[in-house]
Symmetry: C2
Subunit: 125 residues, 2 copies
């Protein structure tokens, strides 16, 4: 496999390994990127988010939001309405994930089509 | 945030959300991409892999390798030496992850630099 258009040297490969480990540490896991994508349309309240991110529990969503806030991807806007309204919004920093999200989305689509094709193909010959 | 260069519509956003969820389901988690990157240099034996992928236990590595094989990313080559040699090798299909790996690697590098910078900056003003 090539990284940056040419075969990687051993140390390039190690560096790349570390960077990818870093990235997966921060945005890996089942939910984080899904929460970020859900917020691309605009700020959302907790309950809205829980409805969109199918299958996430309130406890896990709460922990993931805290993590995302800590890492600078989202901010919490508190409006002094009665009752208080809290909305979660993407920060400019989360824009830096655009290439990652596009690559993952394209790959996920390709992989899904691939699986569909292999399921339609005759099982054996 | 923009996907494909323009603001996404609601349904595009949902589709993208599903594709990303698919992708994270298959290659998410702490180890899978790291194992794949480790194999970019060439086929490796189990013990070599465990040394390169720092911190992984034999049990988890074994489970992850099975998963990766099932999803078509790697194949197991068995050589009838004495004792038998088993090597793990990337398939052509794993090349499809190139864009994802590059995007993640670039982002991880940027994020690391960013954290370093913010640690060097004066704590408060």
């Amino acid at each position: 496999m090539k990284l940056n258009g040419q075969e990687p040297t051993k140390s390039e490969c190690n560096a790349s390994l570390n960077y990818i480990a870093d990235a997966m540490y921060v945005i890996g896991g089942k939910w984080k990127l899904r929460i970020i994508v859900s917020l691309t349309e605009g700020a959302k309240r907790f309950n809205e988010l829980q409805r969109i991110v199918d299958g996430i529990s309130a406890k896990v969503l709460s922990a993931e939001l805290k993590d995302l806030e800590l890492n600078g991807f989202i901010k919490r806007n508190i409006y002094t309405t009665t009752p208080v309204t809290v909305e979660y919004q993407l920060t400019d920093y989360s824009d830096s994930l655009q290439d990652v999200l596009q690559a993952l989305s394209a790959w996920g689509q390709m992989h899904r089509d691939n699986i569909k094709k292999s399921m339609k193909a005759p099982a054996t010959v």
